[in-house]
C-alpha cells in the first residue's frame, strides 16, 4: 500500500503544472474563453509535444502510463480551469479505442490523438437519455458492409474543436435494451453530420450533433456490433474518475482563494478570517477537499479491477466529490460576499465549473442509485 507517485508521474505533474502556471493564468483564460474559437490549439500542440496526450496510453499504443497519469493531468487542468478537450479526446475516445479498438484503429486513431492531429469528441449523451448510456434513439442500420447513422447527440463537449467523433448508436433492440449498443468512429466532416455550436456556462464549448443518413464503413465500428455497452460503461467510468480529479484541482484553488480572501477582507475593523463562524466553514471546506482527494485516488486505483468493483468505487467517488464540490463552491461564494457574485474574480469561474462537474457523467443521485444497486443486500 502506498500513495506515492513514480518519478515519471512526478515529471508529468511538474510539466503540466508549469505549463498551466506559466501560460494559463486567469486573465489569459478569460481571453481564451471569450475568443472566437474558445480554446488554445497552440497549447494543445504543446501538450502533444510534451507527450501529455500520450500519458494515459500503454507503451504498445505509443504512450507510457494509464489512469494515474490522466488523474494527475486533470487535477492540474482543474487548478487552472483549462478548457482544452483532454477528457473527450484522450480519456473518452482514447479509452474507447484502447479498450475496444482493433490494431488498425488503434494505430491510426490513437496515433492521431497522441500527435494532436486528431481531436475527438465523445457523442454519447442524448436529449432524452439522461445518464442511461443504453437509452439511445440514435440508430445505426447495417447497409451491406456499411452502417447508416441517424439521430441527435446532446451537449457534446469539445465538438466544435473536434475532427472526429466517437458515437454511440443502437444497431438492434429496443430504446433502452442493454444489448444492441454499438460504438462508431465518425469523421466530423462526413456527409450528413451537422452541428450547432455554443458556449457552456463554465467556459467550454459544445455542440448539438445531428446525424442524417451518415454513412460509415464497417471499419468504423469499435468492437463488436451490439456489444458496446460494457465498453462505454468502462470509458465513462474512466472519464468520471478524470473529472473527479479535475474537481479536486478546482477545489484546491477555490479553498486557497477563499482562505486568502478571508485574510485580506476586513469588516468590523478586522480580517473576516478571524471570525470563528468563517474559520469553521473553511475547516469544513478543507475536510471536504481531503475526503475528495481520497475518493479520487480510490476511484483511480480501482479503475482496472473487475466491473462491479470499478463501478462501486467510481460511483462512491462521484457522489462524494459532487457533494464536496457543491459545498466548497457555495461556501467560497458566500465567504467572498458581494465580490463572489462579480464576474471579476476567479472564484466565480471555479464555482461554475464545480457546479457543472456535479452533473457530468452522472449526478450525485445517479451515482448514489448505482452504488445502492451494487452494495445493498
Amino acid at each position: 500500500m502506498d500513495f506515492d507517485f513514480t518519478d515519471e508521474q512526478n515529471m508529468v505533474r511538474d510539466g503540466i503544472s508549469r505549463l498551466i502556471r506559466e501560460q494559463y493564468d486567469f486573465d489569459t483564460r478569460r481571453k481564451v474563453v471569450a475568443s472566437e474559437s474558445g480554446w488554445r490549439p497552440e497549447l494543445w500542440a504543446q501538450l502533444a509535444e510534451l507527450g501529455m496526450l500520450a500519458a494515459p496510453f500503454s507503451e504498445e499504443d505509443g504512450g507510457f502510463g494509464g489512469a494515474t497519469e490522466a488523474m494527475i493531468i486533470m487535477e492540474e487542468f482543474g487548478k487552472g480551469l483549462a478548457v482544452e478537450p483532454f477528457i473527450p479526446s484522450v480519456v473518452c475516445a482514447g479509452g474507447a479505442l484502447k479498450h475496444g479498438g482493433n490494431d488498425a484503429q488503434r494505430e491510426e486513431y490513437i496515433g492521431g490523438i497522441i500527435s494532436g492531429e486528431m481531436i475527438f469528441a465523445f457523442a454519447y449523451a442524448e436529449p432524452r437519455g439522461r445518464y442511461d448510456l443504453a437509452n439511445l434513439e440514435t440508430t445505426a442500420k447495417a447497409d451491406g458492409g456499411d452502417y447508416v447513422l441517424n439521430g441527435h447527440k446532446a451537449v457534446v463537449i469539445g465538438a466544435p474543436w473536434a475532427t472526429h467523433l466517437v458515437v454511440t448508436a443502437r444497431t438492434s433492440g429496443g430504446q433502452t435494451d442493454k444489448d444492441g449498443v454499438s460504438v462508431f468512429i465518425v469523421d466530423k466532416a462526413a456527409q450528413g453530420v451537422s452541428t450547432r455550436d455554443y458556449a457552456t456556462v463554465d467556459g467550454r464549448r459544445a455542440s448539438e450533433v445531428y446525424f442524417e443518413n451518415v454513412k460509415v464503413s464497417g471499419d468504423a465500428l469499435i468492437g463488436d456490433a451490439g456489444n458496446g455497452l460494457p465498453l462505454i460503461e468502462k470509458v465513462v467510468d474512466e472519464a468520471t474518475a478524470a473529472v473527479c480529479a479535475e474537481a479536486v484541482g478546482a477545489m484546491k484553488v477555490t479553498n486557497a482563494t477563499t482562505l486568502d480572501y478571508s485574510r485580506q477582507r476586513k469588516q468590523f475593523g478586522t480580517p473576516i478570517g478571524s471570525f470563528q463562524v468563517l474559520q469553521h466553514r473553511m475547516a469544513d471546506m478543507l475536510m471536504e477537499y481531503e475526503q475528495s482527494v481520497s475518493m479520487c485516488y480510490l476511484a483511480t486505483i480501482k479503475l482496472d479491477e473487475d466491473d462491479a468493483t470499478r463501478k462501486k468505487n467510481v460511483s462512491a467517488a462521484k457522489v462524494r466529490i459532487g457533494q464536496a464540490g457543491r459545498f466548497i463552491g457555495q461556501s467560497a461564494i458566500q465567504t467572498h460576499g458581494g465580490m463572489g457574485m462579480t464576474d471579476e474574480l476567479a472564484v466565480g469561474s471555479y464555482f461554475k465549473r464545480l457546479s457543472i462537474i456535479e452533473g457530468e457523467f452522472g449526478s450525485v443521485d445517479h451515482h448514489m442509485r448505482r452504488h445502492i444497486a451494487l452494495t445493498a443486500g
Binding site: 500500500m1 502506498d2 500513495f3 506515492d4 507517485f5 494515474t68 482562505l259 478571508s262 485574510r263 478570517g273 478571524s274 470563528q276 474559520q279 469553521h280 473553511m282 475547516a283 469544513d284 478543507l286 475536510m287 481531503e290 475526503q291 475528495s292 482527494v293 481520497s294 475518493m295 485516488y297 480510490l298 483511480t300 486505483i301 468505487n313 462512491a316 457522489v319 462524494r320 448514489m368 442509485r369 452504488h371 445502492i372 452494495t375 445493498a376 443486500g377
Partner: protein
Amino acid sequence: MNLEFTEEEKAFRAEVREFIENNYPENIGTRGVQDDLSPEDMLAWHKILGKKGWSTPAWPKEYGGTDWTPTQRYIWSEENARKNTVMPLPFGVAMVAPVIYTFGNEEQKAQHLPGIRSGEVWWCQGYSEPGAGSDLASLKTTAVRDGDDYIINGQKTWTTLAQHADWGFFLCRTDQDAPKPQMGISFILVDMKTPGIEVRPIKLIDGGYEVNEVWLTDVRVPATNLIGEENKGWTYAKFLLAHERSGIAGVARSKRGVEQLKEIAASELLDGKPLIEDMGFAQKISQLEIDLSALEITELRTLAGEQAGKGPGPESSLLKVKGTEIQQRLTELTLEAVGHYGAPDFRSFPDDGSNDFPIGPDYAHHAAPTYFNMRKTSIYGGSNEIQRNIITKMILGL
C-alpha cells in the same frame, strides 16, 4: 499508488487472524444480555495480548512495542474489528504510557510500563473539571509542594471508568501566578487508593455509569510522581491529545457496524419488503458507506505519511471529526432501522442470567442506548468544534 497489501502483510494478516480466532475468549460479555461489560471482561483480551506481547503495538520496541509498521497496525485493528474484540482501554496503553516513556524518568518507566502492558493496572484520566471542559487550561485543581510530597485538592469530572482504576494521571495547577494559565500546570501520577480520593459515578443518558466525578481532598502524593518538569504539564497534555486522536477514526469498527446495519435493514420489513430495498433508507446506508470509504482512504494516506516518517499531526483532527460523525450516524441509522423495538429499556427487565432477550429482535435492544452513548464522541477528546479550531490554526494558519 496502490492499495494492495504486500505478501509479507498478507502473511501477517493470516497470522493475527489465526491468533485472534484461537485465543479470543468466547464468553466475553455473554453472561446475560442485561449485563454491562464487567471489569474482568474489559481486561480479558488485554491480558492475553500482554502475554503474547501484542498489547502495545504502537510503543517503541525498547518499551515493549511490536515494531509493526503503520500498515501492520491497521491490519491489526481491522482483524480485531472483524471479531468485535474488546480492545485494551486507551487510558493506559495509548494515553499515559506515551507520556511516561517520552517524558518520564527511568524509575517511572520501570514502575508503570510493565503493568500497563500486561493489563494488570487500570488507569484513568484526570483532565476535565466542572469549570474546565473545552477550556482545559483554566483547570483549578491544585498541587502544592509540601516537603517530598504534593498535596492535591480539587475536583475532576467525566473521568471514564475511574470506579475501577488503580492509577490516574492528573493535570494540576502548581503555579497560580504563571503569566499564562497553560504555564502553571503539572502532570502528576496518582495512586487511586490514596486517602482523600472519592469517586462518584455519574449516571449518563444511556442508563450506564461510564464516567465519574473524582473529588480530591488533601491527597498526599510523592513528588516523584511528577512527570517531567513542574509547570510543563500542558506540553505533555497536548502531546497526549495528539496521540489520543490518532486511531480515533475507528474505521474498522465502523465498517463492521455498516455490515451489521445492513443485516438489520435486511431483516426489518417495510410494506412487506426488506427495509434495505427502500430507496430512502438504502440511500442513507450508501451515503454512510461512501463517507466511510473516504475516511478510510484518508486514514491510509495518513498512515502512509507516518510510514514515511511523519508523526501524527493536525490531520488527526480531521480523522477525529469525520470518524466520530460516522460513528454517530451509524448508531442513528441503527436506531431508525429497528423501529418499534428501539423503545423498550433493556435494563428494566429482571436479570435471569439468560442471553435471550425476552421481547423483540436481539439486535434491537442496545440500539437506543448506543445511540445515546455515542453522542459523547463529538464532545470528548477535544470537541469537534475544538478540532475545527485546531485545523484553523495549524493547517489554515489563521
